[in-house]
């Protein structure tokens, strides 16, 4: 019944005024909500973003990247993987990543403290690491910041054993 009486008001000045009031309220409400979202986004993002870098970029911009939160991707060199138990409460996992598996001129040493050994961390795996530049050109991984590419998507090797993705660069990510 409410529907009927409501629609029957159509055309009356009361409804017109109500409509225009609603529009103003909508506009103000919409603007406030938009401002709230912008605030939430800016507040969350400010000072908390990571810069995505390749190994080559990491080395060429090492000084300016000091103290920044970084995300670096690369191919894992299998011969560099090492898990060391320093004492009962401290372990160190280290390995090297490169942009181009077949021309590994620049190797970035990645160090993760107290991280378990991931099953996927092996030769030619693709690693995504989050962390910071440490002393001596090493990369220190944040807690939980070591990720290996999901196994469903391993399609990188050709039958001769060469990765078909070949290199990591700014453009191909």
């Amino acid at each position: 019944m409410a529907d009927v009486s409501w629609t029957n008001e159509s055309g009356s000045s009361a409804l017109l005024s109500n409509k225009s009031n609603n529009r103003v309220k909508f506009a103000i409400g919409g603007l406030l909500m938009f401002a709230a979202i912008v605030f939430l986004v800016v507040n969350a993002v400010r000072g908390n973003t990571q810069l995505y870098k390749t190994v080559a970029e990491f080395y060429s911009q090492q000084e300016e990247l000091q103290g920044r939160d970084l995300r670096v991707a690369g191919w894992v060199m299998g011969d560099s993987i090492k898990f060391t138990q320093i004492d009962a409460a401290t372990s160190q996992l280290e390995f090297e990543i490169v942009d181009d598996y077949y021309n590994p001129n620049l190797r970035l040493k990645v160090i993760a403290m107290n991280e378990p050994m991931p099953d996927l961390l092996q030769d030619q795996a693709q690693a995504l690491v989050e962390g910071r530049a440490g002393e001596g050109g090493v990369f220190l991984v944040n807690p939980g910041g070591l990720m290996l590419k999901c196994p469903t998507r391993y399609e990188e090797l050709d039958p001769a054993g060469h990765p078909s993705g070949v290199t990591f660069s700014s453009n191909n990510q």
């Binding site: 409410a2 529907d3 409501w6 629609t7 409804l15 109500n18 409509k19 609603n22 309220k25 909508f26 909500m33 979202i37 939430l40 986004v41 507040n43 969350a44 993002v45 908390n48 973003t49 990571q50 810069l51 995505y52 870098k53 995300r71 991707a73 898990f83 138990q85 004492d87 009962a88 409460a89 372990s91 107290n114 991280e115 378990p116 050994m117 991931p118 099953d119 996927l120 092996q122 995504l128 989050e130 939980g144 990720m147 290996l148 590419k149 999901c150 196994p151 469903t152 998507r153 391993y154 399609e155 990188e156 090797l157 039958p159 078909s164 993705g165 700014s170 191909n172 990510q173």
Partner: protein
């Protein structure tokens, strides 16, 4: 031979889809029903053709035909049979073929279901659905051919095999559920566009679209929940959601689909928000394609994305074409999409749905923005930025909290206008119960304000929702029905309403779990010698020894034996293990857990033990994690209740269809 047959089957499916577009168009223009029937048959035949193509690829996988590149990549001789079958969706090309099969199944179901009732929309529906099919079938046929042979006639002796981490029952069901959800959203879009183009924007399309949306949404929800469970069980990081771009790619269309399922009720009841509903259906479809683009193009670095592929630009082009097409028709029909009523009060059921939509869209916008942050930041700053899970959580937590609160309040509101006094009265007792709950929790040492605020909101909404069930049941009991009859009749007679409330309950239970595990998860890593003990929370773990034994196939299993004590009492013996596939050297860490209603004590080996008397353990204490899964179960149950065909509603739709003019092959 088998590969050739599979490929030709795929090509014929593509030809059938192209023919369907032409025949539907011609049939519509010439008012010739035979052409229209022919177009429908062409659409239907894409199903057996893509099914045959998929079956033949499975045959190649089962027969270890490693001359086929795809088979070599995702299968091996040793792989168990069920994993050879599931390898169909284990890589880019196969999963695209599987996608085509599901799309054909949905399209065929939509064309076969109530053809006569929907006839006026069908020429356009066939054209839109077949156009989507043409795009995906072309990708399979010309860009990611699953039947391509290895160049140079090489036939490897064995294949790479599916990664051992995928040897989990989750592989059987999680990807198909996600794909069903994604492909399913094509159908609501198809009917929405058909309604737009034909100008038949009455109730029929919205009822049809809602049902199909609910089906797609159910599958997508299942895919998301199962993905979380799989990650928790297998990946060994004690979590279930990582805000990875590819995970977000599934969540984003789910958010817009959820917004639509709510706002569609306003259109059905009050003929409002027509334009908005059309917009939601369109963006859900576009976001599905966009999500597929993110997963398959490798444009954003993600731990889940496929290898980089040539499909990226093609997806982008397709999205652009479909977006322009949709915008054109929405603009053209803007007069027909005007609301027949305006919002009378900001305290009404309509307004509650509006706030709900605002919150869903705000969450969607933020997740979309953060997911695409690498691209956006590079565009504006020249540097590729990335945002991690803490940023998502900080930005989204207030919006989720509001949504949880609204979930309880919205069902109390009335259409048109609700009095503040009535609303206030209904909220008093739930607020009291919620307050008592957090006071009790405070004395139980729960002191984080975020946890207390979250629990207050969830409890408040939960009590409100339970009261709705209680009121409905009581009303029926007053007619002489006993409690069980009253409750089951309530569910059966108002499936949409009470199915929706079950869904809300599921979400609320999940939300308790999320608060528990996100705010109170504890973890530690420690090396232990035999007999040594490590403590975490109220638990103590004593390491006894390491045992090694051969497993099935080429497996070597190394497991640690641990006694677990809680408050000094032995409660479990856990055996977390590492399995090594000796042929490939691939390890697989299998956690073990003591699982109770209130928490999981989750243990995994941090590395391969090298001595029988020493082991490095990673321990997690995950409070309320099982509430996430229990909530997921209730959620799915609610969706099934809401989506179950309602004979009364079907009758109404049929009557309305009969009331329309008999000859309905005309349009623009």
């Amino acid at each position: 031979m088998i590969a050739d047959l599979g490929y030709f089957s795929l090509l014929f499916a593509l030809l059938a889809a192209v023919y369907a577009v032409g025949a539907a168009w011609y049939g519509h223009k010439s008012h010739n029903e035979r052409w229209l029937e022919s177009a429908r048959n062409a659409t239907l035949i894409t199903l057996p053709l893509t099914a045959l193509s998929s079956a033949l690829l499975i045959t190649l996988l089962l027969t270890n035909d490693f001359s086929i590149q795809y088979v070599w990549r995702v299968s091996s001789i040793e792989q168990p049979t069920y994993l050879k079958v599931t390898a169909l969706w284990g890589g880019q090309a196969g999963s695209l073929l599987f996608w085509n099969f599901l799309l054909a199944a949905f399209t065929a179901a939509a064309m076969a279901h109530k053809w006569d009732e929907q006839k006026p929309l069908m020429p356009y529906a066939i054209i839109v659905a077949s156009f989507t099919q043409i795009f995906f079938l072309s990708l399979s046929a010309f860009v990611e051919n699953p039947f391509a042979r290895i160049a140079g006639g090489i036939i490897p002796a064995n294949g790479n095999g599916l990664n051992p981490l995928l040897r989990h029952p989750g592989m059987i069901i999680h990807p198909p559920m996600l794909y069903l959800g994604f492909t399913g959203f094509t159908i609501p879009y198809t009917f929405a566009m058909a309604a737009l183009i034909s100008g038949r924007l009455d109730d029929t399309w919205i009822r049809t679209t809602r049902r199909w949306t609910l089906v797609a949404w159910l599958f997508l929800s299942l895919g998301l929940i199962l993905g979380g469970r799989w990650a928790y069980d297998v990946l060994g990081w004690g979590g279930y959601w990582g805000w990875d771009p590819v995970e977000n790619a599934s969540l984003i269309p789910w958010l817009s689909g959820t917004a639509f399922l709510h706002s569609v009720m306003i259109q059905e009841k009050r003929q409002m928000f027509k334009w908005w509903n059309m917009f939601l259906i369109v963006i859900t479809y576009l976001l599905v394609i966009y999500g597929t683009f993110i997963v398959r193009s490798g444009v954003i670095s993600s731990v889940h994305s496929f290898a980089q592929s040539a499909v990226g630009p093609l997806f982008f082009g397709f999205i652009a074409v479909m977006a322009l097409f949709s915008i054109y028709w929405i603009t053209k029909r803007r007069e027909d999409l005007k609301s027949e009523h305006t919002l009378a009060s900001f305290l009404s059921r309509e307004a509650a749905f509006l706030y709900n939509n605002f919150l869903f869209l705000a969450i969607l916008a933020i997740v979309f923005l953060f997911t695409n942050y690498p691209i956006i930041s590079e565009l504006f700053t020249g540097e590729r930025g990335f945002v991690g899970p803490p940023v998502y959580e900080r930005a989204l937590a207030p919006l989720f909290l509001l949504l949880l609160g609204l979930m309880g309040i919205a069902p109390l509101t009335m259409w048109y206008r609700t009095s503040l006094q009535r609303l206030g009265q209904a909220m008093v007792w739930p607020a009291v119960v919620a307050t008592v709950t957090i006071v009790v929790l405070f004395f139980l040492e729960v002191r984080l304000w975020a946890a207390l605020l979250g629990v207050w909101t969830i409890t408040f909404s939960m009590v409100l929702t339970l009261v709705e069930f209680g009121k409905g049941t009581q009303a029926r009991m007053r007619r002489g029905e006993n409690f069980f009859t009253a409750f089951s009749n309530l569910m059966a007679r108002s499936r949409r309403r009470y199915g929706g409330y079950w869904i809300h309950l599921g979400v609320l239970v999940m939300a308790y779990g999320v608060i528990g595990v996100e705010l109170y998860q504890q973890e530690t890593q420690r090396q232990l010698q035999a007999g040594e003990i490590v403590a975490l929370g109220a638990y103590e773990v004593q390491f006894l020894n390491v045992m090694q034994r051969p497993g099935p196939d080429d497996l070597i299993i190394t497991e640690a034996v641990l006694d677990v004590y809680k408050n000094g009492r032995l409660v479990a013996t856990l055996t977390p293990r590492r399995e090594i596939y000796t042929r490939t050297g691939q390890p697989m860490t299998i956690p073990d857990a003591r699982s109770t209603f209130f928490e999981d004590f989750y243990v995994l080996l941090a590395e391969q033990p090298t001595s029988p008397t020493a082991v490095t353990l990673r321990l997690f204490l995950n409070p309320l994690i099982n509430w996430v899964w229990a909530g997921g179960f209730i959620f799915v149950l609610g969706t099934l209740i809401a989506a179950w065909p309602d004979p009364v509603e079907d009758k109404i739709t049929a009557v309305r269809a009969r009331q329309r003019p008999a000859v309905a092959l005309t349009g623009d």
